[in-house]
């Protein structure tokens, strides 16, 4: 190092200029330098900032007792050297970020920018530049990267598809769940309009939803159920919600998509199970009614055999009493039809069947169920009063299901009346009122009524106040009425008992 470059100050400044420059350099958050582009960069000038940066004083460095390369982190010295050379070889300024180890052992990130200012007579380049501490920035960057990775990990592990789109709806990001759901890689769909993730038949609905939510009126996240469409053109039900990403200059939106296939499947299963339970309940009902039905069939059979025997005796009479015979045979035939009707009704009760709504004469429906329920009422010593408008309309319903509901409500009412120790002959009313567009059917009992406590668990499946009850009656009844677009409701009567009612649509 015999041919040290002249100090910068001597070459470029003098007098007051020098003082100003010194002050300026002192105030810089870092270290200005001049050195030779040799191994470990011997420095012949550094500014005072060197002490704060590496813990050595200016004189120690300028005397070249320690070289800059001694501070540079050993893992990075080759990297820094490469960066510097590749730039200077092309005659360009260099810029490099690397780590140093200060005198006290502390590691720091520094940023350095420099360039060739001159050459020594032997051709060695003279570099001038500036080095500053960027440790804080580097830590912040690392933290940010970690946070981003964390957020990305969450998005990627989400079960729902998470998609971000720009204000026009072009897809910007697409998480792993979205890839799994739709079969596209993220890079395949980036830039495409998010509409293309829905089935074509739902484009219009999706566009409407997108437009409406681009400028949300409030904070509520709205969602829409549509059909999605994957890469292989498979359609599946989805629930899609959308929200603006706030605090970004350009408007962006995050779209969440949930695959409803499983849910729909489960719903269907529940529905099927309920239908099956309804069937079981019908069979159960039948069991409960076995005595009643046996009675109902035995009555006409008894009459038939009596009439038959009578006819025989009239014939055997000397002379035959033919005038009585006609009457006997006619009555016999009537009773055979009566027995047939009972069996037909019973078959209808036991047949599992698809719920199909048809136009039904409400009067006939109610009178029919009244006839069927009367047997049960007789066994309990109660009377079912049929209170109907003079002419009843045609209603839209599944007659068997509705009859099942009414029968169930009548039975519940009578159970409650028995529990309330109602006198024999007490009345339970089956009433129908035309409300114009709907027909309200009410079952009015004089039982215990519905207590506040009972009210809460009234429709819960498997909840029963009856010892023998399965507790499915009301919950199934409610499902049936719901499937008819109505609601099974109740209120306690002013006096005693409760009224259960529902409405059926009238066919105009």
């Amino acid at each position: 190092m015999t041919d040290s470059p002249r100090p910068l100050t001597a070459k470029t400044a003098s007098g007051g200029d020098y003082d100003r420059l010194e002050t300026l350099l002192k105030n810089l958050p870092g270290m200005a330098y001049r050195c030779l582009n040799l191994t470990h960069w011997p420095m012949d000038f550094v500014s005072d900032g060197c002490f704060e940066l590496c813990g050595y004083r200016r004189q120690e460095i300028e005397s070249q007792l320690v070289l800059w390369g001694d501070f540079t982190h050993p893992e990075m010295i080759d990297y820094v050297d490469r960066k510097v050379r590749s730039a200077t070889d092309k005659g360009q300024p260099f810029e490099v970020e690397y780590r140093i180890i200060a005198r006290n052992g502390e590691e720091k990130w520094v940023w350095e920018r420099g360039r060739v200012v001159d050459h020594r007579s032997d051709g060695v380049a003279i570099l001038e530049g500036f080095i500053t501490d960027i440790t804080d920035r580097k830590l912040a960057e690392a933290a940010l990267m970690r946070a981003e990775a964390y957020a990305q990990a969450i998005v990627d592990s989400a079960v729902d598809a998470v998609i971000t789109v720009d204000s026009q709806g072009s897809i910007e990001s697409f998480n792993q769940a979205a890839s799994a759901m739709f079969g596209y890689r993220a890079d395949e769909v980036r830039g495409q309009h998010c509409r293309s993730l829905t089935a074509t038949s739902f484009y219009r609905e999706f566009d409407r939803f997108f437009q409406r939510n681009r400028v949300p009126a409030d904070d509520v996240i709205r969602s829409v159920e549509l059909n999605g469409c994957d890469k292989r053109d498979r359609e599946f039900p989805i629930l899609l919600s959308m929200r603006e990403i706030v605090d970004i200059e350009e408007k962006k939106y995050v779209i969440l998509i949930r695959d409803l296939t499983e849910q729909r499947h489960a719903e269907k299963e529940v529905r099927e199970q309920r239908d099956m339970l309804a069937h079981v309940d019908r069979l159960n009902t039948l069991g409960e009614m076995a005595a009643g039905i046996a009675h109902e069939i035995n009555q006409p059979l008894t009459a038939i055999s009596m009439y038959a025997q009578s006819s025989l005796r009239f014939l055997q009479h000397r002379p035959p009493r033919l005038e009585r015979l006609e009457d006997a045979l006619e009555k016999l035939s009537q009773q055979a039809h009566r027995a047939g009707a009972v069996i037909e009704r019973m078959q209808e009760m036991t047949r599992p069947h698809q719920s199909h709504h048809e136009s039904v004469d409400a009067g006939r429906l109610l009178r029919e169920i009244h006839g069927l329920a009367e047997v049960e009422a007789q066994i309990r010593n109660f009377v079912i009063v049929l209170r109907l408008d003079e002419s009843l309309p045609t209603v839209k319903c599944d007659p068997i299901q509705i009859q099942q509901v009414i029968l169930n409500l009548l039975r519940n009412g009578m159970e409650s009346m028995r529990a309330n120790r109602c006198k024999p002959g007490s009345k339970i009313v089956l009433q129908a009122r035309n409300l114009g567009d709907r027909l309200r059917i009410s079952i009015i009992d004089s039982g215990l009524g519905v207590s506040h406590k009972l009210e809460k668990q009234l429709y819960q499946p498997f909840m029963s106040t009856k010892e023998s009850g399965m507790g499915l009656g009301l919950s199934i009844s409610r499902s049936i009425i719901a499937a008819h677009g109505g609601q099974l409701e109740f209120s306690n009567n002013k006096g005693v008992g409760a009224t259960f009612y529902f409405k059926l649509s009238i066919v105009q």
């Binding site: 009555q299 009459a303 009439y307 009239f314 024999p424």
Partner: protein, 204 residues
């Protein structure tokens, strides 16, 4: 209250009109007189204790059931035989009816020829009961016509005591006992000692 004024009737009590009507027709074809009621209450409203015949009673009816009517009739001292008509699941009720003294019970649908047979048997039994009751009523009237002393002699003779013993028991002469005894025989319309004993037994 004589046999001539009240003929035997079959009282049909059933809430089912067709069953009621068909039973009636069958009885008619067997030349049996009948009378129908749609319920136990209707029958009771009509009942005055003088009815003769038997009941054909449906065990299961709205309002008062057949069993309840049976109990009610027993309470008011009716001895009309009751034939119950029972349904399929009514065995326990039928058992109770028999325990309470029903004449019979028949399952629906009923076997007609045995039905007619049972009706006849029930009517015969009722005739016997009625005659017996008539006899008893007559005996009671006759016993009531005896004097105090005659009744004492009647009781002791019927119990098989010899005149001598009776005389010593009552502290009267044997001759007086003999007078009382012939008076008793005359008043009770008894010709032999055996008849006297029977009248005494019937009265107890």
């Amino acid at each position: 209250m004589s046999e001539q004024t009240r003929p035997q009737l079959v009282y049909i009590i059933d809430d089912d009109e067709a069953v009621r009507d068909s039973i009636g027709m069958l009885l008619d074809s067997a030349d049996l007189a009948y009378c129908s009621f749609a319920g136990a209450d209707e029958f009771l409203a009509d009942y005055d204790g003088s009815q003769r015949g038997c009941l054909v009673l449906d065990i299961r009816m709205p309002g008062m059931t057949g069993l309840e009517l049976q109990n009610r009739l027993a309470e008011i001292g009716s001895s009309l035989p009751i034939i119950f008509i029972t349904g399929h699941g009514d065995v326990p009720m039928a058992v109770e009816a028999m325990r309470n003294g029903a004449f019979d019970f028949l399952r629906k649908p009923v076997d007609e020829s045995s039905f007619i047979d049972r009706i006849h048997t029930a009517l015969d039994q009722e005739s016997g009961d009625w005659r017996q009751r008539l006899d008893r009523d007559q005996n009671r009237e006759r016993i009531e016509s005896l004097t105090e002393r005659e009744r004492e002699v009647f009781r002791l003779v019927a119990e098989g005591l010899a005149n001598k013993v009776i005389a010593s028991d009552l502290g009267i002469s044997e001759r007086t006992v003999e007078v009382h005894r012939s008076q008793v025989m005359k008043k009770l319309d008894a010709r032999t000692l055996a008849q006297l004993v029977r009248i005494h037994l019937q009265d107890e």
